[in-house]
């Protein structure tokens, strides 16, 4: 039987040392059995490596930064759709999700582009700044945390949190500060990049374990694969990892999705303490950059997302291969200056 043709727009082509999830998501889409997929890359920067990965990305269009607002994004997507006839868009950046969530109805009605995103309420309530309330609501332990808006507030943190503590950006970045001086330095560095507020979180000693998962929006966990990073970069990103057997972690993911009816991909970042207690330190509202491990372990979460976006019923995955590993590598793409010129000046390649 001939495969159905599908055109999917994907963001997060920054396959760099702190990678976006775009390329792993695309690899997962290329592995789909029922679809012959054409990938339209949606990029923000001319040096996102995915733009030049022509074996994975068929064509790329620059899109406006999230700060440009919803109307300019909609206008740009309208132009892209007039050429490419997009079936689905999978956004992969936290910072762009707000705009895409707001535009999802317009995309469907005006352009017949499907998405499969969390609701705005789901998206907002799992923000780092709202995590303590989130933990209480869904019965998950969360380290104590608070938002700060100025450096003057750092002096009082020693009494409130003690050191070390974790300094986090509202979207990305986290650093462990062992002194007020370090906390101030990280405050400046992270707020300079991602703006205010800064989130201060109690440091929790233990092993970081993460789960990549997908919910159907009706309270069912469609798939979940837990992983421990076995090689970590200086930015704290996984350079290698292994799929774990962890019933408790799976139960946490299941209960969470049952409770808040999460719609779409997400990642739980947890700390497992020496006493085998689990603390939620973050929920990312999209697939993580290591989502291809789930595919390798037997659960193609992006494929499930595509099917649900198209309105198909998807049965939950029943198992995955424990012990399946991933190891990242770096690779120098050789590109012609002409290509860089084209994406830079014309905004498409």
């Amino acid at each position: 039987m001939a495969k159905k043709k599908l055109t999917v727009g994907v963001t997060g082509l920054n396959n760099i040392d702190s990678p976006g999830p775009g390329i792993p998501v695309i690899r997962a889409l290329k592995d789909m059995k029922d679809f012959d997929v054409r990938i339209i890359g949606l990029s923000y920067d001319s040096l996102e490596p995915g733009i030049y990965m022509h074996d994975l990305v068929d064509k790329t269009y620059q899109i406006p930064l999230p700060s440009a607002g919803q109307q300019s994004l909609l206008t740009r997507l309208d132009y892209i759709n007039s050429i490419e006839n997009l079936d689905i868009i999978i956004p992969n950046f936290d910072a762009e999700l707000f705009n895409f969530i707001k535009l999802q109805d317009a995309l469907k009605k005006k352009m017949n582009i499907h998405t499969f995103l969390p609701t705005l309420e789901q998206f907002e309530e799992r923000h780092k700044s709202n995590l303590p309330e989130f933990g209480v609501k869904y019965g998950i332990k969360v380290p104590k945390s608070k938002m700060i808006h100025s450096m003057a507030e750092i002096h009082s943190l020693a009494y409130e949190f003690g050191y070390p503590l974790v300094v986090k950006g509202k979207f990305y970045d986290a650093s462990i500060a062992y002194s007020p001086d370090q906390a101030m330095a990280y405050f400046n560095k992270i707020s300079g990049k991602w703006g205010l507020p800064i989130i201060i979180q109690q440091y929790t000693q233990g092993t970081e374990v993460n789960v990549t998962a997908i919910g159907d929006g009706k309270g069912n966990l469609i798939g979940a694969v837990p992983m421990r990073k076995t090689y970590i970069t200086d930015k704290g990103k996984a350079w290698a990892g292994v799929a774990l057997e962890d019933e408790e972690l799976m139960d946490i993911a299941k209960n969470l999705v049952k409770g808040n009816k999460w719609r779409g991909g997400f990642e739980l970042e947890m700390i497992r303490t020496e006493k085998n207690e689990y603390f939620l330190i973050e929920i990312n509202p999209r697939f993580p950059a290591w989502v291809y491990l789930a595919v390798g372990a037997g659960q193609n979460h992006p494929e499930a997302l595509v099917k649900m976006a198209l309105g198909e019923k998807v049965e939950p995955f029943k198992n995955y291969e424990v012990g399946k590993m991933f190891i990242r590598y770096s690779y120098d793409l050789i590109c012609d200056l002409k290509e860089f010129e084209t994406i830079t000046t014309l905004g498409e390649l």
Binding site: R228, T230, V242, G323
Partner: protein, 82 residues
């Protein structure tokens, strides 16, 4: 003393703990002991088996077995330590 039930042992002496993702290598005697522990054999029976199989006195076997088991506990590969 029992080791974690889900501990994966391979013939090469590669040991994988699927709960933590940690892996280890043990020598053939270590592998033999782990297999016996996985079969729920008692400590005394394992030591007796080692005494009958290898050329070592009982004190040495007892000491080495104790060290090995303590190592397993420290690595949280025993059942009670999760």
């Amino acid at each position: 003393m029992s080791i974690k039930k889900n501990l994966a042992l391979s013939d090469t002496g590669f040991v994988f703990n699927p709960s933590t993702g940690d892996s280890y290598s043990v020598n053939p005697i270590g592998l033999e002991i782990l297999r016996m522990l996985k079969e729920n054999k008692k400590d005394e029976d394992i030591k007796k088996h080692l005494l009958a199989t290898y050329q070592a006195d009982f004190e040495t076997i007892e000491k080495d077995y104790y060290d090995f088991v303590k190592g397993l506990e420290q690595l949280k590969l025993t059942e009670n330590n999760g």
